[in-house]
């Protein structure tokens, strides 16, 4: 799960990593007062949204007075911030972080991620701080160092040394860098993070390492041992349909197309989207209804699909494994009737009792078309929505 910069910094602080003084604000007045409180001649006002690249989009501004800070906040709060990571629709700025300024002597990039290939935690560092790391990795891969730490090796002093040397720092920084890296590594593991990105990590003119920005992604699966994750959920940052689906236990991701998809299983759902695209239409969503496609669940799924006004037709693709297809067909028909569905729907049911299911669909009296295979179904729905 994504969290805000200010929350990420709270976690870092908890693990002994110092950040600059900052105050979270919800109104221009609070921002004005924050300027006074921080006692820093220069402050930075930063939009708190679940997306990176805020600077380019106008979500990070410097203020040299309380008035200036307030007037920045007046524009920033409520604006729709569009960055490389928000998508076209952007994100509405609901709160800002006002942070003290710092005298920057150097900027670095530093992140921790899960290294899938080596089953390890990887440090990624670069002396090119503040840049987008994807760009650096494409244009100058030699400027990035990745060090994988296997769990039974642990972070060790030779790892710190390698990072120090790669960043071009001298011996005198070894102790401080070591402290920072050990705290970060510990925080990453203990808080079950999927990603921790500090960009830039700055070295101040007084030779302190400070994370100027911090982005953390937490591993939702570990929420059972970190109840505080619940406090960090900010539904306002997510797509409302995705939130609704999640609360109903459905796995839904909104896309830009016009064919609503309802599939059981994540892999099959992706494959279904891909096949629709192959036939010239475009999927409106990813939706995995899971293993139990009963009428209640299907009804909720229909409602979510229909909330997306772009949707012109629906493709239901279920491979009935343990679940019997005729049961699913009944559920689909009942749900469609309950909500008075009028959109064209192509239904493909494969697996146990697929024939009986097809008959039920055909005889339902609804606007249902039977797909005989994944390709056949995808083709039929694509032709319909392209009309």
């Amino acid at each position: 799960m994504d969290i805000h910069e200010y929350q990420a910094k709270e976690i870092l602080n908890k693990h002994g990593i110092k950040t600059l003084g900052s105050i979270l604000c919800h109104s221009p007045e609070e921002v004005y007062r924050a300027y006074q409180t921080l006692l820093s001649p220069i402050v930075v006002v930063k939009a708190q949204v679940h997306a990176g690249g805020r600077g380019k989009g106008g979500g990070v501004k410097i203020a040299k007075s309380g008035d200036e800070a307030r007037s920045i906040a007046e524009k920033m709060l409520g604006m729709t911030l569009v960055t490389a990571q928000t998508g076209k629709e952007g994100k509405i700025v609901r709160k800002v972080l006002v942070e003290s300024g710092a005298q920057i002597s150097k900027e670095f990039y530093l992140s921790l991620t899960v290294d899938r290939k080596n089953a390890a935690v990887a440090f990624v560092v670069s002396a090119e701080g503040g840049m987008e790391i994807e760009e650096v990795s494409k244009s100058h891969p030699e400027k990035i160092l990745t060090i994988s730490i296997k769990p039974f090796h642990g972070l060790r002093s030779h790892h710190v040394l390698k990072i120090l040397l790669f960043l071009g720092l001298d011996k005198t920084f070894l102790g401080d860098l070591s402290g920072l890296l050990f705290h970060l590594y510990d925080a990453f593991i203990r808080e079950d993070m999927s990603m921790l990105e500090i960009n830039p990590l700055i070295l101040t003119s007084s030779n302190e390492f400070i994370p100027l920005d911090a982005k953390i992604i937490l591993d939702d699966n570990s929420i059972f041992r970190h109840p505080y994750f619940n406090d960090y959920i900010d539904e306002g940052e997510e797509n409302p349909l995705e939130v609704k689906a999640k609360n109903a236990g459905l796995n839904y991701i909104k896309l830009d197309g016009n064919v609503g998809c309802m599939v059981n299983g994540a892999g099959l759902a992706m494959a279904t989207m891909d096949t629709i695209k192959e036939f010239g239409a475009s999927p409106a969503n990813f939706l995995d209804v899971g293993g139990t496609a009963d009428s209640k669940r299907v009804e909720t799924a229909f409602n979510i699909l229909l909330s997306d006004k772009k949707v012109k037709g629906i493709f239901i693709n279920i491979f009935g494994g343990i679940v019997k297809c005729d049961m699913v067909a009944e559920g689909v028909v009942t749900a469609a009737k309950n909500i008075g569905l009028t959109l064209p729907v192509v239904v493909r049911l494969e697996g146990t009792n697929a024939e009986e299911a097809a008959r039920l669909i055909e005889n339902s009296g609804m606007n249902f078309i039977v797909g005989r295979s994944l390709a056949d179904g995808a083709k039929k729905i694509s032709e319909i929505v392209k009309k």
Partner: protein
């Protein structure tokens, strides 16, 4: 022949009295799987389905039974403990169905596996089946038919789709393995590809990948260097957007890496027969085997 499991495999079920565990243990028994024992803490001494003895720990079960494989249905928060218990009990094959295990737990499990002689399939997978012999998992048994294709997949229902086609195409399967949809899994494609290459009954392998990570690319390099048998590849997620987890915890494109098109390019370069869409997996397999 087949790989990993066959009709002589003695199977344990961890979490046999739970909702999922009991449902699927019953289905496996119906398929003919030799489930010899179950484990659920504090349920030791009882019998599952009036027949399978239940123990508190694997150690207890091992006193009476030879155990070749275990099917793990332990809830996510305790799954790492259950898997490590199986590793410590030296169970040769661990099939973990459980979804939602934290990645940090899996890093430890993976380290434990590396220092052991156990093989783990999963987690977050449909399991392993050798057609008509032994099913350890949650896949529908009836779509499988003894034949000549080995199947490897990061997915669940998409695997059933492929198997269904292979069965209907008259090819049938040897062993079908869902390797799991999580970022860190017990066994990636390569060791299993090697087993299929060595298995005399397997004529070709279907490998179903998806976005995220680089497992398919690494597999294709192995295929190019080490495999004589044809491999048919499909990658799901051509239309998936960046930065979003597509259901599976491991199915995510991040930092522009792990896209379907990158994977397909590498697979093709390394001589994998590409199925352009899931409906042609069966046909592609036939072509690869020069049967059509």
């Amino acid at each position: 022949m087949s790989i990993l499991v066959n009709k002589n495999t003695n199977v344990l079920v961890q979490g046999i009295t739970g909702k999922e565990g009991s449902f699927h243990a019953t289905k496996c028994l119906e398929y003919g799987t030799k489930i010899v024992a179950g484990v659920t803490p504090f349920k030791g001494g009882s019998r599952f389905n009036n027949s399978v003895p239940v123990y508190n720990t694997i150690d207890e079960a091992k006193k009476t039974h030879r155990i070749d494989a275990t099917m793990v249905f332990v809830p996510a928060g305790f799954a790492a403990s259950g898997i490590i218990e199986a590793i410590e009990a030296e169970i040769p094959l661990i099939v973990c169905i459980t979804e939602g295990i934290p990645v940090m737990d899996m890093l430890n499990v993976k380290a434990a596996l590396n220092s052991s002689n156990s093989i783990m399939i999963g987690p977050n997978c449909p399991g392993v089946i050798t057609a008509d012999e032994c099913k350890i998992g949650i896949m529908p048994g009836f779509i499988h038919k003894k034949g000549k294709i080995g199947v490897l997949s990061r997915s669940g229902t998409l695997t059933y789709e492929a198997v269904d086609q292979l069965t209907k195409a008259g090819l049938g399967e040897t062993t079908c393995i869902g390797i799991g949809g999580d970022p860190i899994i017990g066994t990636p494609f390569i060791p299993l590809l090697k087993m299929f290459e060595d298995d005399p009954e397997t004529s070709a392998v279907v490998m179903i990948g998806e976005i995220g990570g680089t497992a398919e690319e690494e597999a294709s390099e192995f295929i190019k260097k080490n495999m004589k048998k044809p491999v048919i590849g499909f990658i799901a997620g051509k239309t998936a957007p960046e930065g979003k987890r597509m259901g599976h915890a491991g199915a995510i494109i991040s930092g522009g890496k792990g896209t379907a098109s990158d994977k397909l390019k590498t697979l093709e370069k390394n001589g994998v027969y590409i199925a352009d869409n899931p409906s042609v997996i069966g046909d592609t397999a036939k072509k690869a085997l020069k049967l059509s």
